[in-house]
Subunit: 257 residues, 2 copies
DNA sequence: ATCTGTCTTCCGTCACGTGGAAGGGGTGTA
DNA sequence: TACACCCCTTCCACGTGACGGAAGACAGAT
């Protein structure tokens, strides 16, 4: 109601609703295999209920039983996930460009999208000599400290930006920007220059540069290179390359959707 | 009850149960974007019901709305799918080996798992000069005619084999094996030799060779190379390579699980 | 033998999902 | 302007099917 009419309703219902979905939520990167009791505890329902819920998901293919009798996310979910335009579709469009970039730089190349006030890594090519990375494909992370996150946040709807700015960012290192005003200026600079540089904001020895992937004027993802270093100059040579690759991905997406 | 006691119950419930899952099932590779009315029609519920169901999934992240107002599979599903051991986990373990294989051969390299009486392609590296392939990552296909399918079927539980053999296989080309007896012999040969060769059984100009990926004695996936050709001899030089790569994947999986 | 942890099945109750009906927009045809 | 036909959205009384307590089976540990 605020301004645009493009966003239809159909988001209000914030109740979890189906407990089936809550069961799926019980599986996380840290706990990808659960027993029935663990699921029941995580979801907060009696065992008998969990038993039926898991039974349904099992029959559907959403969860599977491994050889130890524990439950894991099933192939059906992966298969459905492959239909997500921001998942596999994006990955397939981006991979060739990411490989080219890796070929030239032999550094970590990352692709991420925004989900709410967080980011999700969709693909990564990790150089063995490159700096160690914290997250994995499919993993989530905070927006502000990362290069990809700065790009995604800078081009996010204002309400999302305000929501992130309202909460004080976590300080991972002494270089992490935690002051809202400073972060606001950094975002403006990202919009102006078209790239974001994160200088040791996540780990003390890594710098990254990120560029937006645009489709018809909308930023749908961000591409970055992460290198070992202790100043923004470490990534400066890579700026044109990252920018060009991000543009290439955007063009590919625009032509295939 | 037939023989083993390892497989617990918890599969009987064959009713779809939650309609939420039916909504997700409405999305397919052919129709990855649907309007609310299309979903309602596909699921077989009135619009108002579909509206609520989609609303729940939307709030959860299972479906998203694209700029045209149509619904698509959401990032949350992709993210969950990344936890599926037979999805992304398998892919990550296999990709280096597949890349090596591609480096040497520059032919199509495919990785697939069995789901019931079908196979699902988990990853593919497609050579541009290579033969055109029908399916995509995340796609399903019948077991019998493909190389990967023969491997997966040959090592599947007997009941699955019988189920497949009971139905007459579709004849894609005049080389497709459709006689149950002949297929039975082919499967025995696959078990004996450790590889499967599919000679023009899917398309008239392609031959493939596949090898099983084993983890602790269980076949969890199959790896294959598809080349243009008109006889089994076209793939014979690749047999050792495919076999070695498949073994390597299995070893990697065994050490990381 | 007992206890503590798994998982499985059954069944009576009542919350909650269901879907009919009504309303609001947009676009195309007369 | 009026009508027709799509889309989508909201509301609410009804009755079905999900819920979870209780009881039992099984395995391993003390």
């Amino acid at each position: 109601m605020t301004s645009g009419l493009r966003a239809g309703p159909l988001q209000p219902r914030r109740t979890a609703g189906g407990k089936l979905l809550a069961v799926l939520d019980a599986f996380t990167r840290d706990r990808p295999a659960l027993t029935l009791s663990e699921i029941a505890r995580a979801v907060g329902v009696p065992l008998s209920t969990a038993h039926r819920l898991v039974g349904e998901l099992c029959a559907w293919g959403g969860v599977e039983r491994d050889e130890d009798g524990r439950y894991r996310v099933g192939l059906r979910v992966w298969e459905l996930g492959a239909l997500a335009p921001r998942g596999l579709g994006l990955r397939e469009a981006a991979l060739p460009f990411m490989e080219d970039l890796y070929e030239v730089t032999h550094e970590n190349v990352q692709l991420a999208v925004r989900d709410g006030t967080e980011l999700v890594f969709v693909e990564r090519i990790a150089g063995r000599s490159a700096v160690g990375v914290l997250t994995r494909v499919g993993g989530r992370f905070a927006l502000p400290p990362t290069g990809v996150g700065l790009v995604l946040l800078a081009h996010a709807p204002l309400e999302v930006q305000e929501e992130v700015l309202a909460r004080p960012p976590v300080g991972y290192t002494r270089h992490t920007i935690t002051d809202p005003g400073q972060l606001r200026r950094a975002l403006a600079e990202v919009r102006r220059s078209g790239v974001a540089i994160s200088d040791r904001q996540v780990t003390g020895d890594a710098v990254s540069v990120a560029a937006p992937v645009e489709v018809r004027g909308t930023v749908v993802a961000a591409l970055s290179i992460v290198v070992r270093g202790n100043s923004a100059s470490a990534v400066r040579p890579y700026i044109p390359g990252v920018r060009a690759a991000a543009r290439g991905i955007g063009r590919t997406l625009a032509s295939t959707s």
